[in-house]
């Protein structure tokens, strides 16, 4: 399988990438290429030009600041899971990152590429929702900061405008009592998520004072925050009973995805099971 003919340019900086993109409306940004190139090989996607941003130094960093950890868009999955600041702050990121594809994929694929691609079964979107991340994007018209909840807008779609690229992802530092977890039920062939559940909780004196529960894989519309489950957890003791009661209402009113590995009924059931597992892990029960 061979892609259709395409030109290739390596951008030396974010501004160069942005101007190349502006000059070539049929161009596509190439980061790790691990979503784009497989699609091009199958000729599902045929851009005229690829603008490679993978080696732009200003896009590949992870810095822990006072308020948040900033991750450059071209950081690979492996960069992220092997970073000590991430490991000490965001367990869900490590758990999710380790389950993305395989070592080889994690060495190439990037956080920015994954969220720009916004595959409904991809793992990062759920994690960014649960961790309340902000996505920084830049285009000819300047930069914008978009809350993760506003960034993911549906099936392979995001709030990115034409000519914009993702440059950074900011994840607020955890407060005292915060913990997170990501649990995933793998599709046995592709190993993407049939159900992935990311949770972030804050437990104060044994009581759940903050909770975010996000799913990917569950809905064909993409990753989403399950407000009903979060609400059902708030102010309750961090116990198995609380969790079981809360997850009973998971993925309600959602257009649930269906394929030959998981029907709607089964997927919905799994959503509850995996929400429970993630919450049990995050609450350290």
């Amino acid at each position: 399988m061979i892609p259709q003919a395409v030109d290739y340019k390596r951008a030396g900086s974010v501004s160069e990438a942005i101007s190349l993109l502006a000059e070539n409306p049929d161009a596509k940004i190439l980061a790790g290429g691990h979503s784009l190139i497989p699609a091009m090989k199958l000729r599902l996607n045929s851009p005229s030009l690829l603008i490679d941003i993978a080696r732009i130094a200003e896009l590949r960093f992870i810095t822990a600041g006072d308020g948040a950890v900033a991750i450059g868009a071209a950081s690979t999955h492996n960069d992220i899971i092997s970073n000590a600041d991430i490991q000490s702050r965001f367990l869900a990121m490590v758990e999710a990152g380790e389950l993305i594809g395989d070592t080889q994929v994690r060495n190439m694929g990037t956080l920015g590429g994954s969220i720009a691609h916004a595959d409904p079964s991809a793992d990062w979107p759920g994690v960014l929702l649960a961790l309340n991340a902000t996505v920084k994007v830049e285009g000819a018209g300047g930069t914008r900061e978009i809350a993760a909840a506003d960034f993911f807008t549906g099936f392979f779609s995001t709030a990115l405008e034409e000519g914009e690229i993702v440059t950074e992802i900011h994840i607020p530092n955890p407060v005292a009592g915060a913990n997170s977890s990501y649990q995933k039920f793998l599709q046995p062939a592709s190993r993407f998520a049939i159900v992935g559940c990311a949770v972030a909780v804050v437990i104060t004196d044994g009581v759940i004072s903050e909770a975010k529960v996000a799913f990917n894989g569950v809905s064909g519309e993409g990753a989403f925050l399950d407000e009903a489950v979060s609400t059902a957890l708030l102010g309750k003791a961090a116990t198995l009973e609380t969790i079981e009661a809360a997850v009973a209402g998971a993925a309600e009113g959602i257009d649930i995805n269906e394929d030959h590995y998981a029907s709607k009924v089964y997927r919905k059931h799994l959503a509850k099971v995996y929400a429970k597992r993630a919450l049990v892990a995050a609450c350290e029960l």
Binding site: M1, I2, Q4, A5, L42, R43, F185, P188, A189, S190, H260, Y261, A262, S263, Y266, H269, L270, V273
Partner: protein, 788 residues
């Protein structure tokens, strides 16, 4: 004879090239002036072709030629095995054209071949070909294809029935036995369609030398001679002596590379037409659509028992899906390789199989590792374990009640089954006893009872299997419709300096023949293994051969080599006797020396080799040289057997199954290289367990395969398995000189039902009394079974 190598885990001599990246597979070969072919395939399962427009594609720069059914549609590939209808009529054999002219019959059916200067151009051009299709309704399920009003795949095949067939005792006798049964266990099931998935995609290079008027085909095949025979005699009408077929290093076969594929003939024709070498290598996506699939039986089976738990009868109705066209051995698989194994290890007095073989709008189905025998084993072993659950008898006890008693085939006769075969030798109690010991059966049942109180159910499943391999006695298979003999050829050429070249018609694509065969030769001749080189895979160097499948290489191919070795030693003794001035009868040969019995007068093998080629002091009436070729035609099949035990854990919340332990005690007769035999078993187990839990081709209602890639078809991975626990029992084969039975398919034949039985056992332990979970037992299917 010496005893240095046979029975030892000698490291493989072929490994060096593979671990350093120097294996030479077909796609690695580049010939001067080579062009690349791309095949345009049907996106529809069933459609009339109204027109094909190649004009734009043909005009593209770098396109060398385009071929369509118009040009080559009159050539077609044959089926190698004729099976007759119950009423004696010959099976329906519709043509399988190289390129389709009028009607496509499955997704992936070949419509046009583009030859170009590069792979890229060939694909670009193929996409510029315009084909106007009239889409027709498709049928993919064999049991539905025979119904009135089903889409007709071939106009010449009414109701899509290729043939119907039966084997065993007269139906009335079986009906009577079943009527007398105290308990009948019945099971309606599907043995699902699998894609073989050898990791090397098929690859062919056609080459034509116009100076010598000779063709060469490089092909990723399991049997180069068979390909040459079929392509020359039945497809292209080329003289065999003008065609060389080379099967270089081949990256796995598992059956899928036995068959003569249309693309082999196409690249050969294209090479002649263009005067340039033409390479075609399939993509994995194409492999899913065009490599012959395996299994695909829809079965209704019943097993009757008396009040003591003795089996009184077995009655089966099966629809076997052959796909859209007949592949080389496809008709033999559900019949002679399947029906004949329905005795299993049991004394079942009355057996009847009613088989209907059916065309559908799907990829051709043929032998996949085990070929017919896994389906037979699955059927029997599922029924036995299920019957045990239903009757409340321990599944191992139920087996012991029904096992055939041990027999060695030498002092005791072979066992005559009710389904045509005569087993050679067996001790079925032995493998079960050893398996139970390894399992720690009593402790397991306690653990299981504990687990039943938790969220993780435990289950154990047994499978005691037998297979027929060492394929095959030519006269027997000939009487059953085979259109070829199934002997093997082994040539042993001793060079003047005493080194030995061996030419075998068997073909190694992972089995390690270069090592195993050399072990035999080195030991029999008492020489170092380094002095032995095994050649295979080239019709130019190997006299003839039938290739590798059906666990036949050692039992049949190895035996042919042994025959030649015997001739070498016999002739060597004559030469030695002459030089040592005694009678050949007084010469004994051991450890590489020809010795006058009772004396210390001797000559080495090397001395004799030199003398044979420098025959100055030499027996009168004896030809110089030391080079023998032998054909070995076995007198019977060989019958490996064994006991496989799976322990699984089922997650009650999700239905996900994990294989916790897998125990395999196999009896494959004598073992030449235990390391290689274990490796064969491991690989087979992974495929068999893969069928139970992960793999399965699925079609949608239009005949599209919905999981034709590794993103959707679940291939077993390293983290799907525990370390396997293996042991062996040895009951030598009484009828071949090595006493070997064959080990290539055993793992795959025994393991599948063990896993399904284990899952069902786990479910019963949790109070879910289900008969079956359809394979692959995905978490959803297992979970659903627990909801009822």
């Amino acid at each position: 004879m010496s005893n240095k190598f046979i029975g030892k885990s000698i490291k493989r001599v072929e490994d060096k090239r593979f671990i350093t990246g120097h294996g030479r597979y077909t796609d690695d070969i580049v010939l001067p002036g080579m062009t690349y072919a791309y095949i345009l395939r049907s996106p529809y399962a069933h459609a009339n072709i109204k027109s094909i427009d190649t004009s734009e594609a043909a005009a593209m720069k770098g396109v060398v030629t385009i071929m369509t059914g118009e040009e080559v549609g009159h050539y077609g590939v044959p089926c190698g095995w004729q099976v007759n209808f119950k009423n004696g009529d010959i099976m329906k054999e519709p043509p399988h054209p190289l390129l389709v002219k009028d009607k496509v019959r499955h997704v992936g059916d070949a419509v046009a071949l583009v030859v170009a200067e590069s792979r890229e151009i060939a694909q670009d051009a193929a996409e510029a070909i315009i084909v106007d299709y009239e889409v027709l309704p498709a049928v993919t399920d064999a049991s539905k294809a025979v119904e009135a009003g089903a889409p007709q795949v071939h106009d010449s095949v009414p109701n899509n029935i290729c043939f119907d067939w039966e084997i065993g005792n007269p139906k009335a006798e079986v009906d009577e036995a079943m009527a007398s049964a105290a308990h009948i266990t019945s099971l309606d099931f599907v043995n699902q369609r699998l894609s073989p998935n050898a990791m090397e995609p098929r690859s062919y290079i056609g080459h034509y030398d116009n100076v010598y008027d000779r063709y060469t085909l490089y092909t990723s095949t399991q049997n180069p001679h068979l390909i040459r025979l079929l392509m020359c005699a039945f497809v292209l009408g080329l003289p065999e002596h003008k065609v060389r077929v080379v099967g270089p290093d081949v990256g796995g076969g598992f059956g899928s590379k036995i068959y003569h594929y249309t693309e082999e003939a196409l690249v050969t024709l294209a090479a002649k037409k263009t005067g340039r070498p033409v390479k075609w290598t399939e993509t994995r996506s194409e492999a899913f659509l065009t490599d012959a699939h395996g299994r695909d039986h829809v079965t209704f089976a019943e097993m009757g028992f008396d009040t003591e738990g003795k089996i009184v009868g077995l009655r089966i109705k099966t629809f076997a899906n052959l796909g859209a066209y007949l592949s080389t051995f496809s008709t033999a698989v559900p019949t002679y390789l399947h029906g004949t194994l329905l005795q299993g290890l049991y004394t079942t007095p009355k057996i009847h199989l009613d088989m209907t073989c059916v065309f559908t709008n799907t990829t051709a189905v043929d032998a996949y590792r085990g070929a017919g025998r896994p389906e037979a084993t699955f059927l029997l072993e599922r029924l036995i374990d299920l019957a045990a659950l239903e009757m409340g008898i321990d599944p191992t006890e139920l087996r012991l009640k029904n096992f055939i008693a041990p027999f060695d085939g030498v002092t005791q006769p072979g066992y005559q089954t009710n389904v045509a075969l005569q087993y050679d030798s067996g001790n079925y109690h032995g493998v079960l006893a050893r398996g139970l010991e390894m399992l720690g059966y009593e402790d397991f049942r306690k653990e299981q009872a504990e687990a039943a109180k938790t969220n993780k159910l435990l289950g154990v499943g047994f499978s005691t299997y037998i297979e027929a391999c060492g394929i095959a006695p030519s006269a027997v298979v000939g009487s059953l419709g085979a259109r070829a003999g199934l002997f093997e050829v082994g040539q042993v050429r001793v060079q003047p300096t005493g080194s030995v070249s061996v030419f075998t018609g068997a073909h190694s694509h992972g089995q390690g023949h270069e090592t195993t065969f050399a072990q035999i030769v080195a030991d029999r001749l008492g020489i170092p293994m380094e002095n032995v080189e095994i050649h295979h895979g080239d019709t130019e160097s190997v006299a003839f051969g039938m290739g590798t499948y059906g666990s036949r290489s050692l039992a049949v191919g190895g035996s042919a080599i042994v025959k030649s070795l015997d001739k070498i030693i016999e002739k060597g003794a004559k030469i030695a006797a002459h030089k040592l001035e005694c009678s050949p009868d007084d010469i004994e040969f051991a450890d590489g020396k020809f010795t006058v019995k009772g004396t210390d007068k001797s000559l080495t093998f090397g001395d004799i080799a030199l003398t044979a080629y420098v025959p100055h002091v030499y027996p009168a009436n004896l030809e110089p040289g030391l080079d023998f070729s032998s054909f070995y035609d076995p007198t019977n099949f060989t019958y490996p057997f064994g006991c496989h035990i799976a322990v699984v854990e089922v997650d009650k919340e999700t239905g996900a199954t994990k294989v916790k332990r897998f125990i395999a005690v196999d009896d494959v007769g004598n073992v030449i290289n235990p390391m290689i035999v274990d490796g064969q078993i491991h690989g087979g187990l992974a495929q068999g367990i893969g069928q139970a839990l992960l793999e399965g081709i699925e079609f949608d209602s239009t005949g599209q395969i919905i999981n034709a890639s590794y993103m959707d078809y679940a291939m077993p991975r390293a983290d799907d398995f525990p370390m396997f626990e293996l042991d062996r029992q040895v009951t030598p084969c009484p009828h071949n000189p090595l006493g070997v039975k064959g080990a290539g398919e055993a793992g795959c034949i025994g393991s599948t039902p063990a896993v399904v039985n284990a899952v069902v056992d786990a479910l019963w332990s949790g109070g879910h009394k289900v008969k079956d979970v359809r394979m692959p037992m995905t978490p959803e299917r297992v979970w659903t079974a627990m909801q009822s």
